[in-house]
């Protein structure tokens, strides 16, 4: 505890509201820092933000555009939340997403499945492909204790180059005259859009349903209980005989599968073909890490955080078009936000209280067992 003027600094459990305040402040600080980048580009930051706000939120037809990047971020992010809850640091959503695009493309172009069954088959194949892509690192971790951060990250590059190879090699479309992409999908493999927008709504619905389903999974099911025990204290999980391999495999199936679904949405809802991996996914799998981090282990919170980053992606478009800045500037934004969020983590442990000098230091009303941070227990 420390007295600063009339305020007292307490340490303790972060409340939900306080977490929200600190996170919002961190994001705001990131925006202020990003203002420096506009300024370095010779733009007035206030003007730049005004343009961004207008063009992403207020201009006709602009608002729904936010949801195009939101969809893959939501699906991949919600999967990552689950993995992070099990303390499995899946950095491989990008690769799992790309695996989903490959599987969906395979179904759309190279199987005889046509008609109303096409899209469900694509989603199923995408889910399985993403899940399998996430499976290998989890087996490596649990059987050989290989760090999953490295393996999942490396698997991203394998997926990336595999897609590159496909679209320049065996899957290169005969009808596209030398461009590095596949033929266009048949009409039955196109996702329907919300009229007047470019939102492929079935994928969005899938994302929302998955967020709700994972929330229920964690809070209400036996598997969710095991996941939380495994994630919060692996030693206790061992003690009560929770099978770490089984739990982690299931988590990674779901996590990778969710990212795979995001990939299906991108090829079936946006591009209608498979093309250069850097165009299929604008780093969604990586941004989803921030989406999940910001959601702090709550699947439903990804609905908000994914939308926030959808907004940032959509500002990237604005910056490119209206402000003539490179689209990759969004990565700088993402980086700054993550940087400030991680930096703010420390602050969550503190609370500022109004305690003018002279007033007695009153105990908080919360009836939590008093536990001074000492070796002794009261």
């Amino acid at each position: 505890m420390k007295q600063v003027g009339p305020f007292r600094l307490d340490t303790g459990e972060p409340s939900g509201a306080w977490t929200l305040v600190v996170s919002a402040a961190a994001i705001l600080a990131a925006f202020v820092a990003a203002g420096g980048i506009f300024w370095a580009y010779g733009l007035n930051p206030i003007h730049a933000y005004a343009v961004i706000v207008h063009d992403t939120l207020l201009a006709p037809g602009a608002f729904p555009e936010i949801f195009r990047p939101t969809i893959p971020l939501l699906l991949a992010g919600v999967g990552l939340v689950l993995a992070f809850r099990a303390q499995f640091y899946n950095i491989g959503a990008e690769g799992q997403l790309l695996a989903g695009t490959v599987a969906a493309t395979g179904v759309a172009l190279f199987t005889p499945i046509r008609g109303p069954a096409t899209l469900p088959a694509m989603f199923a194949a995408g889910f399985v492909a993403g899940a399998l892509w996430g499976l290998l690192p989890s087996v490596l971790k649990l059987r050989l204790n290989v760090n999953e951060v490295i393996t999942t990250l490396m698997m991203n590059y394998i997926a990336l180059y595999f897609v590159s190879w496909l679209v320049t090699g065996p899957w290169k479309g005969p009808s596209v005259r030398g461009f590095a992409y596949t033929d266009q999908f048949p009409a039955s493999a196109w996702l329907p859009l919300i009229p007047g927008t470019r939102i492929h709504w079935p994928t969005l619905v899938l994302g929302v349903v998955l967020a709700a389903a994972f929330a229920v999974l964690l809070a209400r099911t036996r598997l969710g209980f095991a996941i939380r025990v495994q994630g919060e204290n692996p030693e206790a999980a061992r003690y009560v005989g929770i099978d770490a391999l089984r739990t982690t495999l299931l988590v990674m199936l779901l996590s990778g599968g969710a990212a795979g679904l995001a990939g299906v949405g991108e090829v079936a809802g946006v591009h209608h073909k498979l093309l250069d991996p850097n165009q299929v996914s604008l780093g969604y799998g990586y941004t989803a890490i921030i989406v999940a981090w910001l959601a702090r282990g709550k699947p439903l919170a990804t609905l908000i955080t994914a939308t926030l980053f959808g907004l940032i992606y959509s500002s990237g478009d604005v910056m490119q078009v209206s402000l003539q800045m490179p689209f990759r500037v969004t990565s700088v934004f993402n980086g700054l936000i993550l940087f400030f969020l991680i930096g703010s983590e420390r602050l969550l442990a503190y609370r500022i209280r109004w305690a003018p000098a002279g007033a007695p230091a009153s105990a908080p009303a919360s009836a939590v067992a008093p536990s001074p941070p000492s070796g002794e227990d009261p």
């Binding site: 036996r222 209980f225 067992a369 001074p372 000492s374 070796g375 002794e376």
Partner: protein, 516 residues
């Protein structure tokens, strides 16, 4: 240190010895609790001063204030007649205060010399450990703190690690040494050695503050004793002018009933049979070497021994957490040598783990969730794939009442409970299903007198109801109070099995490896 094996009391300090350290009216509050309430005490040069009190009496808080880890809300600290402010451990060290913490702060992979050098002022930039090694050897010689400066910490026994912590403080020039429950990890012989070290430090004019809640130790080693209760100083008295029962009264505020319910004569049928059990340590070395033991129903079998002699591996093997390398484990007539922890639990084996927070609970999860940790997969706590948290909460509420677990609510994260209540929660969970075999490892380590008593009674109750209990403890008092038979583990072997009532000295010698 125990009276039976203790040398005669140390010569007491002349009352004229100058005061090295004084704390005046120190007050420290934490949200919801006053840990130190106008605490006043003084420590003289060349004195061993015991600070006695139950867990939560405020001893550690006071010492953390002296060591600069906390700032007092009010009051002053006076060293050698001058009021000082201690803002950090660095300040404390500069004022000649050294601390040997209860949980050692050592880098396990580094050597003794490296650990001592770390943060030591005035060392050379290149190869700083060379000079330090010489100093270590000199100090070790002077105080009888033998330890190999080049050994890695992980290779050392707990008592050797403690010596490293003491050396660390001495090399930093400590004239006032604080030892936080130093004997809780030692054998009686090791404690005797430690006390000899303290005596030598005393002769050199150093002051020692010795935190403990063991009365025997106070009587054996201290010159004066300050008793604390609920954040306040009850009194400071010369040890020569007090008695154990008087100290106990001061400490707990009321007479403690040292007697426990009488032992039942006769024991039941064999419950657990281990035959020539071999178990490997984490490093693949044989940690349990051919242990054979039978634990009967209605019997508490106590295993004494210094930590690190295979007890942990034995317990883990008996609970299915560690594979049995060789030998046979029979429980209730069934061969369970290859059974999983879950299967063992279902068969009626309860496990009170040694590391209650690291293994026994999931700290961020609620009391309710921790209460059902063992049986979350079974009705009524889950039905099909879904959990039934309503029944879980009812179950938790029942345990909270039955075992008097102090928690604001069943929804409180277990991590916010005090150590004693965490242990009660674990016991409640493990004993709730009336297990046939209870394996309890250090069940009362670090807990206060009344919680310890409560846990002892629970174990005895279950024994009398017919459970077999295997009690692993380093606390000889505990073993002697509870056990119907006493085994001693040394070097992975069960080197002796003795009847209840065996004297301390005999057990102590066995714990130190002197075979009968």
């Amino acid at each position: 240190m125990h009276p039976a094996s203790a040398p005669s009391a140390l010569p007491s300090v002349p009352p004229s010895a100058p005061v090295r350290l004084a704390v005046n009216e120190i007050t420290k509050t934490f949200p919801g609790v006053t840990a130190n309430d106008r605490v006043t005490m003084d420590v003289r040069g060349g004195e061993v001063h015991a600070l006695l009190g139950e867990n939560g009496a405020g001893k550690t808080t006071l010492m953390n204030i002296l060591y600069g880890l906390y700032q007092p809300d009010a009051g002053e600290i006076v060293i050698d007649g001058r009021a000082v402010r201690i803002r950090s451990p660095r300040d404390a060290i500069a004022h000649g205060i050294g601390m040997v913490p209860q949980h050692f702060l050592l880098v396990r992979r580094h050597t003794v010399a490296e650990n001592i050098t770390l943060g030591l002022a005035g060392t050379r930039f290149f190869l700083p450990t060379r000079d330090v090694e010489r100093q270590i050897n000199a100090f070790a010689e002077r105080y009888g703190l033998r330890v190999d400066p080049r050994a890695a910490i992980w290779q050392l026994s707990v008592s050797e690690q403690q010596r490293v912590e003491i050396l660390k403080a001495l090399l930093r020039g400590a004239g006032i040494l604080i030892l936080d429950e130093p004997t809780s990890v030692l054998t009686p012989q090791e404690a005797t050695q430690l006390f000899a070290v303290l005596r030598r430090m005393k002769e050199e004019g150093k002051s020692v503050i010795f935190i403990t809640h063991k009365l025997d130790e106070v009587m054996a080693v201290a010159d004066r004793v300050t008793v604390m209760r609920k954040g306040r100083v009850v009194d400071t008295v010369p040890v020569a002018m007090t008695s154990k029962s008087q100290l106990a009264r001061m400490m707990v505020g009321h007479d403690v009933d040292f007697r426990l319910p009488a032992r039942r004569p006769g024991t039941g049928a064999p419950a657990l049979i281990a035959e020539d059990l071999w178990v490997q340590s984490d490093r693949g070395l044989p940690a349990v070497r051919g242990v054979s033991v039978v634990v009967h129903r209605q019997e508490i079998f106590g295993i004494a021994g210094v930590a690190g002699n295979g007890q942990r591996e034995l317990v883990e093997a008996l609970t299915g957490l560690r594979p049995v390398d060789r030998g046979r484990l029979t429980l209730g007539g069934r061969d369970v040598s290859r059974w999983s922890p879950r299967a063992m639990s279902k068969l009626g084996v309860a496990h009170i783990p040694e590391e209650r927070v690291r293994m026994g609970i999931v700290p961020p999860m609620t009391v309710t969730e921790n209460a059902i940790l063992r049986r979350y997969e079974e009705p009524p706590f889950s039905r099909g794939p879904l959990m039934d948290y309503a029944s879980a909460t009812r179950f938790a509420q029942q345990l909270i009442v039955e075992y008097s677990i102090q928690t604001p609510s069943p929804r409180t994260p277990a991590r916010l409970l005090s150590g004693g209540n965490i242990q009660k929660l674990i016991l409640a969970r493990e004993l709730a299903h009336r297990p046939d075999l209870i394996i309890a490892a250090h069940p009362t380590y670090g807990l206060d007198v009344s919680t310890t008593d409560r846990i002892h009674r629970l174990l005895l109750e279950r024994r009398d109801e017919g459970a077999a209990v295997l009690l692993v403890s380093e606390d000889l008092d505990e073993i002697r109070i509870l056990a119907d038979r006493i085994g001693v583990m040394y070097g992975g072997e069960l080197i002796a099995v003795m009847p209840a009532g065996t004297d301390r000295g005999t057990i102590g010698l066995l714990m130190a490896g002197q075979r009968p």
